[in-house]
């Protein structure tokens, strides 16, 4: 009887330990999954992407009007104007995504398709 009692206690402890281990494992899985979701969420976001317009000689083109013509996601219908460094921005666009960008300048019009994967992408366009 005494031995049987010890076995029961040991069996109970083992069962308890099993539950604890299973719980810890589940918590670990949830933690990893949550981290992954957060990571993916960070990668998929609305961001402002920088770009540069240059001429064939590599000189920055100022006062060019840059806009999105088409996109794999909805986008704001606002146009960016390049500064003296030829810089423009695509504001509030969904990343990752594919976009067709149109540049309008006195020297002509050009369209370029870009596949933006990360928020730190920089678009380079030559007129």
């Amino acid at each position: 009887m005494e031995k049987s009692g010890i076995v029961k206690v040991k069996h109970g402890r083992a069962k308890f330990a099993g539950i604890i281990l299973t719980s810890l494992f589940l918590l670990f899985v949830i933690f990893i999954a949550t981290r992954q979701l957060i990571k993916e969420k960070k990668m998929q976001s609305h961001s402002s992407i920088k770009g540069i317009v240059q001429n064939n000689a590599g000189t920055p083109v100022a006062d060019a009007v840059v806009m999105i013509k088409e996109g794999s996601h909805e986008f704001n219908d606002i146009a960016s104007v390049t500064n003296d460094s030829g810089e423009f921005f695509l504001s509030n666009i969904f990343i990752p995504g594919r976009y067709v960008i149109q540049v309008q300048h006195d020297s002509g019009t050009i369209t370029k398709e870009v596949n933006l994967q990360t928020t730190d992408s920089i678009i380079r366009i030559s007129l």
Binding site: H46, S47, S48, V65, V66, M67, I68, K69, E70, G71, S72, H73, E74, F75, N76, D77, I78, A79, S80, V81, N83, E87, F88, F89, S91, N92, Q102, Q104, T109
Partner: protein
């Protein structure tokens, strides 16, 4: 002299409007009357008395970049403000079709899909005629000194309605540093001059949540700058789903692919609606954000949306619903 007052409500929900008519100026509350949805060929101006709506949600709570601005949380009833602008002339939309007869078939049938590569917009040359002169090109300088092009439309002598993302740019410092407003811009011509302002308005749902449904805002020009006195201005109103789906939507703005200094127009029936968004296949490009989307019945022009987004599945406007109407009306009162 033209004045406004038109409102309507039908059995499917509130519907009220603030539009231009030939009636004398008046101060009166709006009330809608039960009525069937009007056909576009008809012109209805409902008797107006007054209307009460529920307090709008937090998303439409106004946010201003000027702390001294008075609160404009909507009241529980609508009050129609006076309209006392001597319009120089009035040219109905039909005049455009006289010049561009190719538009007429497009008004009669709705295109089923966006046809990429075909541009159905037409240029508006008569930007000193109403309503085109009440459409404004916007030259936006963000807080970080980046420069942008947008569109707006006058609802008062000094109030311009536009997209929220034209006045508040989350990734570029928040409130725009300055916005130059040019009514009736036509290449190098600025028939009504231009004014700059940093007195801006938008709402909580856009500023704090960047929610597309709340993408609208306003520019209040300085006291000495009143382009609306010379141009007249748009009416605006809330329309039911059935009314909108049976209406031709007009959209005119300053697209960047044309340089951002020319006004371009197109009209089509809407493609679909949600409670807060109107989708259509009207061709637009970057620079037309903030453009008016309006319905014309006779000489009455009622803005029903603010163009904001492009998309392959359909371009779209923030729909003017009751809380949006309340805010626009409040912003209008700040620019009288």
């Amino acid at each position: 002299m033209k004045s406004k007052t038109m409102s309507e409500r039908n059995g499917h929900g509130s519907s009220f409007a603030e539009t231009l008519t030939e009636t004398p100026p008046s101060q009166q509350n709006l009330m809608s009357q039960p009525s069937p949805y009007p056909e576009l060929s008809e012109t209805e101006v409902e008797d107006v008395e007054g209307v009460t709506i529920l307090r709008p949600g937090e998303g439409d709570k106004e946010v201003a970049n000027k702390l001294e601005t008075e609160s404009t949380e909507s009241e529980t009833s609508f009050e129609e403000s006076g309209f006392d602008i001597p319009l120089i002339e009035s040219q109905p939309l039909d005049a455009l079709y006289a010049s561009y007869s190719e538009l007429i078939p497009k008004l009669e049938t709705q295109l089923q899909e966006v046809i990429i590569g075909v541009d159905n917009r037409v240029r508006v040359f008569a930007t000193t005629s109403y309503p085109w002169r009440a459409v404004c090109g916007l030259k936006i300088t963000a807080k970080d000194n980046t420069r942008w092009i947008g569109t707006g439309w006058l609802v008062a002598p000094r109030t311009i309605i536009t997209a929220g993302h034209c006045v508040y740019m989350h990734d570029h410092g928040g409130w725009a540093k300055s916005i130059e407003v040019i009514a009736g811009l036509n290449d190098a011509e600025r028939p009504y001059g231009s004014c700059s302002s940093s007195n801006l308005r938008s709402v909580n749902g856009w500023i704090n949540s960047k929610n597309r449904d709340y993408d609208y805002g306003a520019i209040i020009l300085p006291a000495g700058c009143r382009p609306g006195d010379k141009t007249g201005y748009f009416g605006f109103g809330v329309k039911t789903d059935a009314y909108l789906m049976s209406s031709v939507l007009n959209l005119s703005g300053y697209p960047g692919d044309k340089g951002g200094n020319q006004q371009w127009f197109m009209a089509l029936k809407p493609k679909s609606l949600t409670s807060r968004v109107i989708k259509y296949d009207i061709d637009t490009m970057g620079g037309q954000s903030g453009a008016p989307v309006w319905v014309k019945v006779g000489d009455i022009r009622t803005c029903v949306g603010i163009h904001t987004n492009g998309a392959t599945a359909g371009n779209s406007a923030t729909r003017i619903v009751a809380p949006v109407f309340n805010n626009i009306q409040s912003w209008k009162s700040q620019g009288l």
